[in-house]
């Protein structure tokens, strides 16, 4: 699962029939998002590396901080293993605390720490 912030919503009329009722949110990951799949051409910027689109049935909205689950559990929550979904909102975050000294101890430089603390608001 990854932590992210909802930054947008997607509307699509022509969509896979199994996605007919799904609400689609654009999520910007907090921290660096390295998808397990979906690496592409240049490699330096993995496709979707900076954003992802997730289905949502928890009624999250723009600005909300969310936990997004990837892969099979996301499909299960979106309706079953035959639904073409690879990411779903699994929780709307009330509060997230990042312990910056602990992050520093993990070897994160000041740049990463500053960006993460900003991203977490």
């Amino acid at each position: 699962m990854i932590l992210g912030r909802v930054v947008g919503e997607v509307w699509a009329t022509r969509r896979d029939a199994r996605l007919a009722r799904a609400k689609l949110l654009v999520v910007r990951p907090t921290g660096i998002y390295e998808p397990a799949f979906g690496e592409t051409a240049s490699g330096e910027t993995a496709s979707g590396g900076r954003h992802l689109v997730a289905t949502d049935d928890l009624d999250a909205g723009i600005g909300d901080q969310v936990v997004v689950c990837l892969g099979a559990p996301a499909r299960a929550s979106a309706g079953g293993n035959d639904v073409p979904v690879d990411a779903a909102v699994m929780a709307v975050v009330d509060r997230a605390e990042i312990d910056l000294p602990a992050l520093g101890a993990a070897g994160a430089g000041p740049g990463i720490r500053r960006k993460l603390s900003e991203a977490l608001g």
Binding site: G8, V10, A41, A54, G71, D82, V85, K115, E118
Partner: protein, 113 residues
């Protein structure tokens, strides 16, 4: 899943049998700003797709210039499974497919397209 713009088409005949007849598109993923909040509104980054190319199977008849939603992995194989016999397992050796053609994306209050 990610958002991208269809940049073109790719044709290939020598394929694994299960992939025959599949339309393959070249998609350029969008980049939606970096880590820092606020950058998204200001940055021109949000409006231009990247230089990357992802090859995606397509059953929704998307074409160059369309914005699309692409799913990876098992989800992509499931997306093309309606081309297969009913009840057949999604045993197509692909890893990316278009699951929706996007009408509009709203980003933090601003509508695009």
């Amino acid at each position: 899943m990610f958002l991208g713009r269809v940049a073109g088409t790719v044709w290939s005949t020598v394929k694994w049998p299960e992939t025959r007849g599949l339309k393959l598109l070249l998609v350029r993923p969008y980049r939606l700003g970096d880590l820092a909040p606020g950058e998204l509104r200001a940055g021109a980054e949000a409006s231009e797709p990247t230089d990357d190319l992802v090859v995606c199977a397509d059953l929704l008849d998307a074409g160059p210039g369309d914005d699309v939603l692409v799913a990876f992995g098992h989800a992509a194989r499931v997306a093309v499974s309606e081309k297969l016999a009913p009840g057949a397992k999604p045993n197509v050796p692909i890893d990316a497919a278009v699951v929706a053609v996007v009408d509009r994306v709203e980003l933090e209050g601003e509508a695009r397209r």
